[in-house]
Symmetry: C2
Subunit: 326 residues, 2 copies
Protein backbone atom coordinates (compact mmCIF):
# COMPACT_ATOMS: atom_id res chain seq x y z
CA UNK A 1 0.00 0.00 0.00
CA UNK A 2 1.47 3.32 -1.06
CA UNK A 3 0.60 6.06 1.40
CA UNK A 4 1.38 9.78 1.19
CA UNK A 5 1.13 12.50 3.83
CA UNK A 6 -0.24 15.95 3.02
CA UNK A 7 0.98 18.43 5.65
CA UNK A 8 3.91 17.76 7.99
CA UNK A 9 3.05 19.16 11.42
CA UNK A 10 2.56 17.17 14.65
CA UNK A 11 -0.16 15.01 13.08
CA UNK A 12 1.81 14.39 9.88
CA UNK A 13 4.77 13.21 11.94
CA UNK A 14 2.43 10.96 13.96
CA UNK A 15 1.16 9.39 10.73
CA UNK A 16 4.74 8.87 9.55
CA UNK A 17 5.64 7.10 12.81
CA UNK A 18 2.67 4.77 12.43
CA UNK A 19 3.39 3.90 8.78
CA UNK A 20 6.82 2.54 9.69
CA UNK A 21 5.15 0.20 12.20
CA UNK A 22 2.88 -1.33 9.54
CA UNK A 23 4.94 -3.56 7.22
CA UNK A 24 2.22 -3.70 4.54
CA UNK A 25 2.49 0.08 4.04
CA UNK A 26 5.02 2.31 2.39
CA UNK A 27 5.38 6.07 2.76
CA UNK A 28 5.98 7.29 -0.81
CA UNK A 29 5.90 11.08 -0.40
CA UNK A 30 5.33 13.95 2.01
CA UNK A 31 3.63 17.02 0.55
CA UNK A 32 4.19 20.44 2.08
CA UNK A 33 3.06 24.00 1.45
CA UNK A 34 6.41 25.17 2.76
CA UNK A 35 9.56 25.15 0.66
CA UNK A 36 10.41 21.40 0.29
CA UNK A 37 14.12 22.09 0.82
CA UNK A 38 13.37 23.52 4.26
CA UNK A 39 11.92 20.21 5.46
CA UNK A 40 13.66 17.02 6.59
CA UNK A 41 11.41 14.07 7.28
CA UNK A 42 12.18 11.21 9.66
CA UNK A 43 11.88 8.40 7.09
CA UNK A 44 15.03 8.04 5.03
CA UNK A 45 14.69 8.31 1.26
CA UNK A 46 11.17 9.71 1.19
CA UNK A 47 10.80 12.68 -1.18
CA UNK A 48 9.41 15.96 0.15
CA UNK A 49 7.28 17.53 -2.57
CA UNK A 50 5.59 20.90 -2.95
CA UNK A 51 1.80 20.63 -2.77
CA UNK A 52 1.80 22.46 -6.12
CA UNK A 53 3.18 19.36 -7.83
CA UNK A 54 0.84 16.81 -6.29
CA UNK A 55 -0.94 15.97 -9.56
CA UNK A 56 2.28 14.40 -10.86
CA UNK A 57 1.73 11.76 -8.14
CA UNK A 58 -1.84 10.87 -9.09
CA UNK A 59 -1.13 7.24 -10.04
CA UNK A 60 1.56 6.58 -7.45
CA UNK A 61 -0.55 6.93 -4.30
CA UNK A 62 -3.16 4.49 -2.99
CA UNK A 63 -4.27 6.70 -0.09
CA UNK A 64 -3.41 10.29 0.77
CA UNK A 65 -3.65 11.17 4.48
CA UNK A 66 -4.50 14.86 4.85
CA UNK A 67 -2.98 16.37 8.00
CA UNK A 68 -4.43 19.87 8.02
CA UNK A 69 -6.39 21.90 10.53
CA UNK A 70 -10.18 21.70 10.78
CA UNK A 71 -10.81 25.45 10.96
CA UNK A 72 -9.67 26.50 7.50
CA UNK A 73 -7.51 23.77 5.87
CA UNK A 74 -9.67 20.66 5.66
CA UNK A 75 -12.93 22.27 4.43
CA UNK A 76 -10.93 23.30 1.32
CA UNK A 77 -8.30 20.56 1.05
CA UNK A 78 -10.40 17.42 1.42
CA UNK A 79 -12.95 18.19 -1.34
CA UNK A 80 -10.17 19.41 -3.66
CA UNK A 81 -7.94 16.37 -3.13
CA UNK A 82 -10.81 13.85 -3.23
CA UNK A 83 -11.18 14.69 -6.92
CA UNK A 84 -7.96 12.79 -7.66
CA UNK A 85 -7.07 10.71 -4.61
CA UNK A 86 -8.51 8.33 -2.06
CA UNK A 87 -8.16 10.37 1.11
CA UNK A 88 -8.44 10.24 4.91
CA UNK A 89 -8.92 13.36 7.03
CA UNK A 90 -9.42 14.14 10.73
CA UNK A 91 -12.01 16.91 10.42
CA UNK A 92 -13.07 17.45 14.04
CA UNK A 93 -15.47 20.38 14.04
CA UNK A 94 -18.42 18.24 15.19
CA UNK A 95 -21.22 20.64 14.30
CA UNK A 96 -19.92 21.13 10.74
CA UNK A 97 -19.41 17.44 9.96
CA UNK A 98 -22.74 16.98 8.09
CA UNK A 99 -21.90 19.86 5.70
CA UNK A 100 -18.33 18.61 5.19
CA UNK A 101 -19.70 15.10 4.56
CA UNK A 102 -22.11 16.25 1.84
CA UNK A 103 -19.50 18.33 0.02
CA UNK A 104 -16.91 15.54 0.07
CA UNK A 105 -19.45 12.85 -0.80
CA UNK A 106 -20.58 14.62 -3.96
CA UNK A 107 -17.03 15.03 -5.25
CA UNK A 108 -15.87 11.53 -4.29
CA UNK A 109 -18.91 9.94 -5.95
CA UNK A 110 -18.41 11.97 -9.14
CA UNK A 111 -14.75 11.04 -9.32
CA UNK A 112 -14.92 7.42 -8.14
CA UNK A 113 -12.73 7.95 -5.08
CA UNK A 114 -13.15 6.90 -1.44
CA UNK A 115 -12.87 9.71 1.13
CA UNK A 116 -12.98 8.89 4.85
CA UNK A 117 -13.59 11.98 6.98
CA UNK A 118 -13.51 12.77 10.70
CA UNK A 119 -11.17 9.96 11.66
CA UNK A 120 -9.04 9.89 14.82
CA UNK A 121 -10.25 9.42 18.38
CA UNK A 122 -12.94 12.08 18.85
CA UNK A 123 -14.39 12.07 16.26
CA UNK A 124 -13.28 8.53 15.51
CA UNK A 125 -12.83 5.77 18.07
CA UNK A 126 -15.00 7.61 20.62
CA UNK A 127 -17.75 7.91 17.98
CA UNK A 128 -17.59 4.20 17.15
CA UNK A 129 -17.86 3.38 20.83
CA UNK A 130 -20.81 5.75 21.32
CA UNK A 131 -22.54 3.99 18.42
CA UNK A 132 -21.84 0.42 19.54
CA UNK A 133 -22.94 1.19 23.10
CA UNK A 134 -26.13 2.98 22.07
CA UNK A 135 -27.12 0.08 19.79
CA UNK A 136 -26.54 -2.52 22.51
CA UNK A 137 -28.25 -0.53 25.28
CA UNK A 138 -31.05 1.52 23.66
CA UNK A 139 -32.42 2.42 27.10
CA UNK A 140 -29.41 4.29 28.41
CA UNK A 141 -27.42 7.47 28.58
CA UNK A 142 -24.07 8.51 27.07
CA UNK A 143 -21.26 10.46 28.69
CA UNK A 144 -17.99 11.64 27.16
CA UNK A 145 -15.14 12.94 29.33
CA UNK A 146 -11.89 14.36 27.98
CA UNK A 147 -8.46 14.48 29.58
CA UNK A 148 -6.27 14.68 31.34
CA UNK A 149 -4.76 16.35 28.30
CA UNK A 150 -3.55 19.44 26.52
CA UNK A 151 -6.18 21.47 24.69
CA UNK A 152 -4.46 23.41 21.91
CA UNK A 153 -7.45 25.72 21.45
CA UNK A 154 -7.51 26.73 25.11
CA UNK A 155 -3.72 27.12 25.24
CA UNK A 156 -3.91 29.42 22.20
CA UNK A 157 -6.67 31.48 23.82
CA UNK A 158 -4.44 32.19 26.82
CA UNK A 159 -1.49 33.09 24.60
CA UNK A 160 -3.55 35.88 23.02
CA UNK A 161 -3.82 37.70 26.40
CA UNK A 162 -1.56 40.74 26.79
CA UNK A 163 1.56 39.96 28.82
CA UNK A 164 1.50 36.20 28.15
CA UNK A 165 4.55 34.65 26.47
CA UNK A 166 3.49 31.01 26.53
CA UNK A 167 0.70 28.87 27.98
CA UNK A 168 -0.40 25.30 28.33
CA UNK A 169 -3.95 24.31 29.32
CA UNK A 170 -4.88 20.86 30.63
CA UNK A 171 -8.47 19.67 30.51
CA UNK A 172 -9.05 17.42 33.55
CA UNK A 173 -12.11 15.23 34.10
CA UNK A 174 -13.65 15.52 37.58
CA UNK A 175 -13.13 12.16 39.29
CA UNK A 176 -16.34 12.36 41.35
CA UNK A 177 -18.39 12.92 38.18
CA UNK A 178 -16.75 9.92 36.52
CA UNK A 179 -17.53 7.72 39.53
CA UNK A 180 -21.11 8.95 39.68
CA UNK A 181 -21.60 8.08 35.99
CA UNK A 182 -19.98 4.65 36.38
CA UNK A 183 -22.31 3.84 39.25
CA UNK A 184 -25.29 4.04 36.87
CA UNK A 185 -26.91 6.99 38.64
CA UNK A 186 -27.42 8.85 35.32
CA UNK A 187 -26.49 12.23 36.82
CA UNK A 188 -27.24 15.46 34.98
CA UNK A 189 -23.87 17.20 34.90
CA UNK A 190 -22.99 20.80 34.08
CA UNK A 191 -19.79 21.68 32.24
CA UNK A 192 -18.27 22.71 35.60
CA UNK A 193 -19.17 19.39 37.21
CA UNK A 194 -17.58 17.34 34.42
CA UNK A 195 -14.26 19.06 33.73
CA UNK A 196 -11.84 21.46 35.32
CA UNK A 197 -9.14 23.48 33.59
CA UNK A 198 -5.53 23.79 34.73
CA UNK A 199 -3.46 26.55 33.12
CA UNK A 200 0.31 27.01 33.19
CA UNK A 201 1.42 30.45 32.05
CA UNK A 202 4.74 32.14 31.30
CA UNK A 203 4.25 35.91 31.77
CA UNK A 204 6.37 38.79 30.55
CA UNK A 205 8.65 40.31 33.15
CA UNK A 206 6.73 42.90 35.14
CA UNK A 207 3.35 41.85 33.73
CA UNK A 208 0.28 42.22 35.97
CA UNK A 209 -0.27 38.59 36.92
CA UNK A 210 -3.48 39.28 38.81
CA UNK A 211 -5.00 40.82 35.67
CA UNK A 212 -3.83 37.92 33.47
CA UNK A 213 -5.35 35.41 35.88
CA UNK A 214 -8.61 37.40 35.97
CA UNK A 215 -8.76 37.58 32.18
CA UNK A 216 -8.28 33.82 31.95
CA UNK A 217 -10.81 32.65 34.52
CA UNK A 218 -13.52 35.04 33.29
CA UNK A 219 -13.07 34.29 29.57
CA UNK A 220 -16.53 33.35 28.26
CA UNK A 221 -17.05 29.83 26.82
CA UNK A 222 -13.37 28.90 27.23
CA UNK A 223 -12.93 29.24 31.01
CA UNK A 224 -15.83 31.01 32.70
CA UNK A 225 -18.07 27.87 32.80
CA UNK A 226 -15.32 25.86 34.54
CA UNK A 227 -13.30 25.80 37.73
CA UNK A 228 -9.99 27.07 36.43
CA UNK A 229 -6.62 27.23 38.14
CA UNK A 230 -3.77 29.43 36.88
CA UNK A 231 -0.14 28.74 37.79
CA UNK A 232 2.65 31.05 36.66
CA UNK A 233 5.87 29.26 35.75
CA UNK A 234 9.19 30.09 34.08
CA UNK A 235 9.96 29.46 30.40
CA UNK A 236 12.44 26.82 31.57
CA UNK A 237 9.76 24.95 33.56
CA UNK A 238 7.41 25.15 30.59
CA UNK A 239 9.98 23.51 28.37
CA UNK A 240 10.93 20.84 30.90
CA UNK A 241 7.50 19.85 32.21
CA UNK A 242 4.95 20.80 29.57
CA UNK A 243 6.43 20.09 26.16
CA UNK A 244 4.49 16.86 25.56
CA UNK A 245 0.93 16.53 24.18
CA UNK A 246 -0.80 13.90 26.31
CA UNK A 247 -4.56 13.42 26.13
CA UNK A 248 -7.30 10.84 26.48
CA UNK A 249 -10.75 10.46 27.91
CA UNK A 250 -13.69 8.17 28.55
CA UNK A 251 -16.85 7.26 26.68
CA UNK A 252 -19.31 5.70 29.12
CA UNK A 253 -22.82 4.43 28.47
CA UNK A 254 -24.97 3.18 31.29
CA UNK A 255 -28.17 1.38 30.42
CA UNK A 256 -30.83 -0.83 31.91
CA UNK A 257 -32.15 -4.29 31.07
CA UNK A 258 -34.48 -6.80 32.70
CA UNK A 259 -37.85 -6.78 34.34
CA UNK A 260 -38.73 -3.27 35.53
CA UNK A 261 -35.25 -2.12 34.42
CA UNK A 262 -33.76 -3.94 37.41
CA UNK A 263 -30.25 -4.41 36.00
CA UNK A 264 -27.68 -1.71 35.25
CA UNK A 265 -25.12 -2.38 32.54
CA UNK A 266 -22.06 -0.16 32.09
CA UNK A 267 -19.88 0.05 28.97
CA UNK A 268 -16.72 2.14 29.21
CA UNK A 269 -14.06 2.94 26.62
CA UNK A 270 -11.00 4.71 27.93
CA UNK A 271 -7.92 6.17 26.27
CA UNK A 272 -4.76 7.22 28.15
CA UNK A 273 -2.42 8.73 25.61
CA UNK A 274 1.15 9.97 26.06
CA UNK A 275 0.93 11.58 22.62
CA UNK A 276 -2.33 12.80 21.12
CA UNK A 277 -0.98 13.42 17.58
CA UNK A 278 0.81 10.06 17.41
CA UNK A 279 -2.29 8.18 18.53
CA UNK A 280 -4.49 10.11 16.11
CA UNK A 281 -1.97 9.39 13.34
CA UNK A 282 -2.10 5.68 14.22
CA UNK A 283 -5.89 5.65 13.84
CA UNK A 284 -5.69 7.44 10.48
CA UNK A 285 -3.20 4.88 9.19
CA UNK A 286 -5.34 1.89 10.24
CA UNK A 287 -8.32 3.44 8.44
CA UNK A 288 -6.19 4.20 5.37
CA UNK A 289 -5.87 0.43 4.98
CA UNK A 290 -9.66 0.08 4.89
CA UNK A 291 -9.96 2.97 2.41
CA UNK A 292 -7.47 1.29 0.09
CA UNK A 293 -9.45 -1.96 0.21
CA UNK A 294 -12.80 -0.26 -0.36
CA UNK A 295 -11.40 1.59 -3.38
CA UNK A 296 -10.02 -1.66 -4.82
CA UNK A 297 -13.48 -3.23 -4.42
CA UNK A 298 -14.90 -0.41 -6.56
CA UNK A 299 -16.60 1.48 -3.74
CA UNK A 300 -16.71 5.29 -3.82
CA UNK A 301 -18.04 8.30 -1.90
CA UNK A 302 -17.60 9.80 1.53
CA UNK A 303 -17.24 7.36 4.43
CA UNK A 304 -17.02 7.65 8.19
CA UNK A 305 -15.73 5.26 10.86
CA UNK A 306 -19.33 4.00 11.14
CA UNK A 307 -19.12 2.51 7.63
CA UNK A 308 -15.96 0.46 8.12
CA UNK A 309 -16.15 -3.18 9.19
CA UNK A 310 -13.41 -3.84 11.77
CA UNK A 311 -11.86 -6.63 9.65
CA UNK A 312 -10.98 -4.07 6.96
CA UNK A 313 -8.60 -2.34 9.39
CA UNK A 314 -6.41 -5.38 9.91
CA UNK A 315 -3.27 -6.38 8.06
CA UNK A 316 -3.92 -9.98 9.10
CA UNK A 317 -6.20 -12.18 7.02
CA UNK A 318 -9.67 -13.23 8.08
CA UNK A 319 -8.86 -16.78 9.22
CA UNK A 320 -6.04 -15.44 11.37
CA UNK A 321 -8.15 -12.86 13.19
CA UNK A 322 -10.95 -15.39 13.67
CA UNK A 323 -8.50 -17.88 15.19
CA UNK A 324 -6.59 -15.44 17.40
CA UNK A 325 -8.79 -12.47 18.29
CA UNK A 326 -12.42 -13.70 18.21
CA UNK B 1 -38.00 -6.86 11.53
CA UNK B 2 -39.47 -10.18 12.59
CA UNK B 3 -37.27 -11.93 15.13
CA UNK B 4 -37.70 -15.38 16.66
CA UNK B 5 -35.95 -16.98 19.63
CA UNK B 6 -34.80 -20.62 19.56
CA UNK B 7 -34.35 -21.84 23.14
CA UNK B 8 -35.84 -20.10 26.17
CA UNK B 9 -33.30 -20.25 29.00
CA UNK B 10 -31.51 -17.29 30.63
CA UNK B 11 -30.12 -16.11 27.30
CA UNK B 12 -33.43 -16.49 25.45
CA UNK B 13 -35.13 -14.36 28.11
CA UNK B 14 -32.35 -11.78 27.78
CA UNK B 15 -32.94 -11.60 24.03
CA UNK B 16 -36.68 -11.21 24.63
CA UNK B 17 -36.06 -8.30 27.03
CA UNK B 18 -33.88 -6.56 24.46
CA UNK B 19 -36.34 -6.99 21.58
CA UNK B 20 -39.02 -5.06 23.46
CA UNK B 21 -36.58 -2.15 23.85
CA UNK B 22 -36.03 -1.92 20.07
CA UNK B 23 -39.17 -0.47 18.41
CA UNK B 24 -38.13 -1.58 14.90
CA UNK B 25 -38.21 -5.23 16.00
CA UNK B 26 -41.02 -7.66 16.70
CA UNK B 27 -40.76 -10.98 18.51
CA UNK B 28 -42.90 -13.34 16.39
CA UNK B 29 -42.26 -16.72 18.04
CA UNK B 30 -40.33 -18.57 20.72
CA UNK B 31 -39.25 -22.12 19.83
CA UNK B 32 -38.68 -24.69 22.55
CA UNK B 33 -37.65 -28.33 22.80
CA UNK B 34 -39.82 -28.61 25.87
CA UNK B 35 -43.57 -29.06 25.69
CA UNK B 36 -44.84 -25.64 24.48
CA UNK B 37 -47.77 -25.72 26.93
CA UNK B 38 -45.31 -25.87 29.83
CA UNK B 39 -43.78 -22.51 28.90
CA UNK B 40 -45.06 -18.98 29.50
CA UNK B 41 -43.04 -16.20 27.89
CA UNK B 42 -42.87 -12.62 29.15
CA UNK B 43 -44.12 -10.97 25.94
CA UNK B 44 -47.88 -11.06 25.68
CA UNK B 45 -49.38 -12.70 22.60
CA UNK B 46 -46.22 -14.38 21.36
CA UNK B 47 -46.75 -18.02 20.36
CA UNK B 48 -44.58 -20.72 21.92
CA UNK B 49 -43.88 -23.35 19.29
CA UNK B 50 -42.27 -26.76 19.38
CA UNK B 51 -38.91 -26.83 17.60
CA UNK B 52 -40.35 -29.75 15.59
CA UNK B 53 -42.67 -27.35 13.77
CA UNK B 54 -40.14 -24.65 12.95
CA UNK B 55 -40.26 -25.22 9.17
CA UNK B 56 -43.83 -23.92 9.14
CA UNK B 57 -42.31 -20.54 10.08
CA UNK B 58 -39.74 -20.40 7.28
CA UNK B 59 -41.17 -17.31 5.57
CA UNK B 60 -42.32 -15.48 8.69
CA UNK B 61 -38.94 -14.88 10.33
CA UNK B 62 -36.26 -12.40 9.24
CA UNK B 63 -33.69 -13.52 11.81
CA UNK B 64 -33.66 -16.47 14.21
CA UNK B 65 -31.60 -15.98 17.37
CA UNK B 66 -30.33 -19.35 18.57
CA UNK B 67 -29.99 -19.46 22.36
CA UNK B 68 -28.38 -22.85 22.95
CA UNK B 69 -25.27 -24.02 24.74
CA UNK B 70 -21.87 -24.11 23.03
CA UNK B 71 -20.88 -27.59 24.22
CA UNK B 72 -23.43 -29.69 22.37
CA UNK B 73 -26.37 -27.53 21.14
CA UNK B 74 -24.88 -24.93 18.82
CA UNK B 75 -22.48 -27.19 16.85
CA UNK B 76 -25.62 -29.05 15.69
CA UNK B 77 -28.30 -26.36 15.76
CA UNK B 78 -26.59 -23.51 13.90
CA UNK B 79 -25.64 -25.47 10.76
CA UNK B 80 -29.05 -27.18 10.68
CA UNK B 81 -31.04 -23.94 11.09
CA UNK B 82 -28.81 -21.91 8.72
CA UNK B 83 -30.20 -24.06 5.90
CA UNK B 84 -33.53 -22.25 6.18
CA UNK B 85 -33.04 -19.13 8.30
CA UNK B 86 -30.80 -16.15 8.78
CA UNK B 87 -29.37 -16.87 12.22
CA UNK B 88 -27.32 -15.41 15.07
CA UNK B 89 -25.58 -17.59 17.66
CA UNK B 90 -23.28 -17.02 20.65
CA UNK B 91 -20.90 -19.97 20.14
CA UNK B 92 -18.19 -19.26 22.72
CA UNK B 93 -15.81 -22.21 22.61
CA UNK B 94 -12.89 -20.11 21.34
CA UNK B 95 -10.65 -22.90 20.13
CA UNK B 96 -13.45 -24.53 18.10
CA UNK B 97 -14.63 -21.33 16.39
CA UNK B 98 -12.68 -21.91 13.14
CA UNK B 99 -14.29 -25.35 12.67
CA UNK B 100 -17.76 -24.03 13.53
CA UNK B 101 -17.21 -21.14 11.11
CA UNK B 102 -16.32 -23.41 8.18
CA UNK B 103 -19.28 -25.74 8.74
CA UNK B 104 -21.77 -22.89 9.04
CA UNK B 105 -20.23 -20.94 6.14
CA UNK B 106 -20.60 -23.83 3.68
CA UNK B 107 -24.27 -24.33 4.53
CA UNK B 108 -25.15 -20.63 4.59
CA UNK B 109 -23.45 -20.03 1.22
CA UNK B 110 -25.24 -23.03 -0.34
CA UNK B 111 -28.61 -21.87 0.93
CA UNK B 112 -28.23 -18.12 0.50
CA UNK B 113 -28.62 -17.28 4.19
CA UNK B 114 -26.60 -15.05 6.53
CA UNK B 115 -25.32 -16.69 9.73
CA UNK B 116 -23.52 -14.62 12.35
CA UNK B 117 -21.65 -16.78 14.86
CA UNK B 118 -19.86 -16.16 18.16
CA UNK B 119 -21.71 -12.98 19.05
CA UNK B 120 -22.06 -11.58 22.58
CA UNK B 121 -19.32 -9.97 24.65
CA UNK B 122 -16.50 -12.55 24.69
CA UNK B 123 -16.47 -13.60 21.93
CA UNK B 124 -18.16 -10.48 20.59
CA UNK B 125 -17.57 -6.95 21.88
CA UNK B 126 -14.28 -7.96 23.51
CA UNK B 127 -13.12 -9.45 20.19
CA UNK B 128 -14.03 -6.29 18.28
CA UNK B 129 -12.08 -4.23 20.80
CA UNK B 130 -9.06 -6.53 20.61
CA UNK B 131 -9.12 -6.11 16.84
CA UNK B 132 -9.53 -2.32 16.79
CA UNK B 133 -6.77 -1.87 19.37
CA UNK B 134 -4.31 -4.21 17.65
CA UNK B 135 -4.84 -2.43 14.32
CA UNK B 136 -4.28 1.02 15.86
CA UNK B 137 -1.28 0.00 17.95
CA UNK B 138 0.58 -2.74 16.04
CA UNK B 139 3.53 -2.48 18.46
CA UNK B 140 1.70 -3.46 21.60
CA UNK B 141 0.36 -6.17 23.85
CA UNK B 142 -3.18 -7.35 24.63
CA UNK B 143 -4.65 -8.31 27.98
CA UNK B 144 -8.13 -9.63 28.74
CA UNK B 145 -9.43 -9.80 32.31
CA UNK B 146 -12.77 -11.29 33.31
CA UNK B 147 -15.01 -10.51 36.25
CA UNK B 148 -16.01 -9.89 38.82
CA UNK B 149 -18.63 -12.36 37.71
CA UNK B 150 -20.25 -15.75 37.94
CA UNK B 151 -18.65 -18.53 35.90
CA UNK B 152 -21.28 -21.16 35.18
CA UNK B 153 -18.69 -23.75 34.17
CA UNK B 154 -16.76 -23.41 37.43
CA UNK B 155 -19.97 -23.40 39.50
CA UNK B 156 -21.05 -26.62 37.76
CA UNK B 157 -17.67 -28.22 38.44
CA UNK B 158 -18.10 -27.62 42.19
CA UNK B 159 -21.66 -28.99 42.14
CA UNK B 160 -20.35 -32.32 40.86
CA UNK B 161 -18.32 -32.85 44.06
CA UNK B 162 -19.82 -35.33 46.52
CA UNK B 163 -21.63 -33.62 49.38
CA UNK B 164 -22.26 -30.34 47.50
CA UNK B 165 -25.86 -29.20 47.09
CA UNK B 166 -25.27 -25.89 45.35
CA UNK B 167 -22.33 -23.65 44.44
CA UNK B 168 -21.54 -20.29 42.95
CA UNK B 169 -18.06 -19.35 41.69
CA UNK B 170 -16.97 -15.76 41.07
CA UNK B 171 -14.01 -15.02 38.84
CA UNK B 172 -12.26 -11.92 40.21
CA UNK B 173 -9.54 -9.97 38.40
CA UNK B 174 -6.50 -9.13 40.54
CA UNK B 175 -6.46 -5.34 40.96
CA UNK B 176 -2.64 -5.10 41.14
CA UNK B 177 -2.33 -6.93 37.82
CA UNK B 178 -4.85 -4.58 36.20
CA UNK B 179 -2.94 -1.55 37.45
CA UNK B 180 0.38 -2.97 36.29
CA UNK B 181 -1.07 -3.52 32.79
CA UNK B 182 -2.62 -0.04 32.65
CA UNK B 183 0.73 1.50 33.55
CA UNK B 184 2.18 0.20 30.28
CA UNK B 185 4.74 -2.07 31.97
CA UNK B 186 3.77 -5.03 29.71
CA UNK B 187 4.01 -7.55 32.57
CA UNK B 188 4.08 -11.28 31.87
CA UNK B 189 1.28 -12.61 34.06
CA UNK B 190 0.48 -16.17 35.09
CA UNK B 191 -3.13 -17.33 35.46
CA UNK B 192 -2.73 -16.98 39.25
CA UNK B 193 -1.50 -13.41 38.96
CA UNK B 194 -4.42 -12.32 36.75
CA UNK B 195 -7.48 -13.85 38.41
CA UNK B 196 -8.60 -15.30 41.71
CA UNK B 197 -11.59 -17.55 42.31
CA UNK B 198 -14.14 -17.11 45.09
CA UNK B 199 -16.44 -20.05 45.75
CA UNK B 200 -19.66 -20.12 47.77
CA UNK B 201 -20.85 -23.61 48.60
CA UNK B 202 -23.94 -25.15 50.19
CA UNK B 203 -22.93 -28.55 51.62
CA UNK B 204 -25.10 -31.46 52.67
CA UNK B 205 -25.66 -31.77 56.39
CA UNK B 206 -22.80 -33.69 57.95
CA UNK B 207 -20.65 -33.47 54.83
CA UNK B 208 -16.87 -33.32 55.29
CA UNK B 209 -16.26 -29.65 54.51
CA UNK B 210 -12.49 -29.94 54.74
CA UNK B 211 -12.55 -32.62 52.03
CA UNK B 212 -14.88 -30.56 49.81
CA UNK B 213 -12.65 -27.52 50.13
CA UNK B 214 -9.57 -29.63 49.33
CA UNK B 215 -11.25 -31.16 46.28
CA UNK B 216 -12.14 -27.69 45.02
CA UNK B 217 -8.80 -25.94 45.47
CA UNK B 218 -6.82 -28.85 44.00
CA UNK B 219 -9.07 -29.42 40.98
CA UNK B 220 -6.76 -29.31 37.92
CA UNK B 221 -7.34 -26.57 35.28
CA UNK B 222 -10.44 -25.24 37.06
CA UNK B 223 -8.98 -24.17 40.43
CA UNK B 224 -5.46 -25.50 40.98
CA UNK B 225 -3.75 -22.76 38.91
CA UNK B 226 -5.51 -20.00 40.93
CA UNK B 227 -5.75 -18.64 44.44
CA UNK B 228 -9.12 -19.98 45.43
CA UNK B 229 -11.23 -19.23 48.50
CA UNK B 230 -14.10 -21.44 49.62
CA UNK B 231 -16.90 -20.16 51.85
CA UNK B 232 -19.65 -22.45 53.10
CA UNK B 233 -23.08 -20.80 53.29
CA UNK B 234 -26.67 -21.85 53.83
CA UNK B 235 -29.18 -22.48 51.04
CA UNK B 236 -31.02 -19.38 52.25
CA UNK B 237 -27.92 -17.19 51.90
CA UNK B 238 -27.27 -18.65 48.45
CA UNK B 239 -30.74 -17.66 47.35
CA UNK B 240 -30.61 -14.19 48.91
CA UNK B 241 -27.09 -13.12 47.97
CA UNK B 242 -26.04 -15.16 44.95
CA UNK B 243 -29.05 -15.55 42.69
CA UNK B 244 -27.96 -12.93 40.15
CA UNK B 245 -25.56 -13.45 37.22
CA UNK B 246 -23.28 -10.41 37.15
CA UNK B 247 -20.15 -10.39 35.02
CA UNK B 248 -17.83 -8.13 33.07
CA UNK B 249 -14.18 -7.58 32.41
CA UNK B 250 -11.54 -5.51 30.68
CA UNK B 251 -9.78 -5.62 27.35
CA UNK B 252 -6.60 -3.55 27.55
CA UNK B 253 -3.99 -2.94 24.89
CA UNK B 254 -0.85 -0.97 25.65
CA UNK B 255 1.32 0.09 22.77
CA UNK B 256 4.15 2.42 21.89
CA UNK B 257 4.56 5.21 19.35
CA UNK B 258 7.13 7.89 18.64
CA UNK B 259 10.85 8.13 18.32
CA UNK B 260 12.54 5.23 20.11
CA UNK B 261 9.09 4.08 21.32
CA UNK B 262 9.07 7.00 23.76
CA UNK B 263 5.27 7.25 24.17
CA UNK B 264 2.95 4.72 25.78
CA UNK B 265 -0.66 4.63 24.59
CA UNK B 266 -3.33 2.69 26.51
CA UNK B 267 -6.72 1.60 25.14
CA UNK B 268 -9.16 0.02 27.60
CA UNK B 269 -12.65 -1.38 27.08
CA UNK B 270 -14.51 -2.27 30.25
CA UNK B 271 -17.85 -3.93 30.93
CA UNK B 272 -19.59 -3.92 34.33
CA UNK B 273 -22.72 -6.02 33.97
CA UNK B 274 -25.47 -6.66 36.49
CA UNK B 275 -26.79 -9.39 34.21
CA UNK B 276 -24.57 -11.37 31.88
CA UNK B 277 -27.40 -13.09 29.92
CA UNK B 278 -29.36 -9.86 29.45
CA UNK B 279 -26.30 -8.01 28.17
CA UNK B 280 -25.36 -10.88 25.87
CA UNK B 281 -28.95 -10.95 24.61
CA UNK B 282 -28.78 -7.21 23.92
CA UNK B 283 -25.67 -7.68 21.78
CA UNK B 284 -27.29 -10.55 19.84
CA UNK B 285 -30.33 -8.39 19.09
CA UNK B 286 -28.24 -5.44 17.82
CA UNK B 287 -26.36 -7.82 15.51
CA UNK B 288 -29.63 -9.43 14.36
CA UNK B 289 -30.46 -6.03 12.84
CA UNK B 290 -27.23 -6.11 10.82
CA UNK B 291 -27.89 -9.71 9.74
CA UNK B 292 -31.33 -8.75 8.49
CA UNK B 293 -29.88 -5.87 6.46
CA UNK B 294 -27.06 -7.97 4.98
CA UNK B 295 -29.56 -10.65 3.92
CA UNK B 296 -31.77 -8.01 2.26
CA UNK B 297 -28.72 -6.74 0.35
CA UNK B 298 -28.24 -10.27 -1.02
CA UNK B 299 -25.22 -11.18 1.09
CA UNK B 300 -24.79 -14.76 2.34
CA UNK B 301 -22.41 -16.98 4.30
CA UNK B 302 -21.01 -17.09 7.79
CA UNK B 303 -20.15 -13.75 9.41
CA UNK B 304 -18.50 -12.66 12.63
CA UNK B 305 -18.58 -9.36 14.52
CA UNK B 306 -15.42 -8.42 12.56
CA UNK B 307 -17.44 -8.28 9.32
CA UNK B 308 -20.15 -5.90 10.51
CA UNK B 309 -19.83 -2.15 9.97
CA UNK B 310 -21.03 -0.35 13.12
CA UNK B 311 -23.66 1.63 11.17
CA UNK B 312 -25.50 -1.62 10.36
CA UNK B 313 -26.23 -2.14 14.08
CA UNK B 314 -28.16 1.08 14.45
CA UNK B 315 -31.88 1.66 14.12
CA UNK B 316 -31.18 5.33 13.35
CA UNK B 317 -30.41 6.39 9.80
CA UNK B 318 -26.98 7.41 8.60
CA UNK B 319 -27.45 11.19 8.64
CA UNK B 320 -28.76 10.99 12.20
CA UNK B 321 -25.79 9.03 13.56
CA UNK B 322 -23.36 11.30 11.68
CA UNK B 323 -24.99 14.40 13.18
CA UNK B 324 -25.35 13.10 16.75
CA UNK B 325 -22.73 10.44 17.46
CA UNK B 326 -19.74 11.22 15.21
Amino acid sequence: MNIAIYGYGNLGRGVEDSIRRNPDMKLVAVFTRRSPESLTVATEGVPVVSTENIMEWKDKIDVLIICGGSATDLPEMTPALAKSFNVVDSFDNHSNIPVHFERVNKIAKENGTVALISCGWDPGMFSVNRLYASCILPDGKDYTFWGKGVSQGHSDAIRRIEGVIDARQYTVPVEDALESVRSGKNPELTARQKHKRECFVVAEEGADKARIEREIVTMPAYFEPYDTTVTFITAKEMKEKHSELPHGGNVIRTGVTGKEDCHTQVIEYKLTLDSNPEFTGSVLVAYARAVCRMAKRGDSGCKTVFDIAPADLSAADRSEIIAHLL
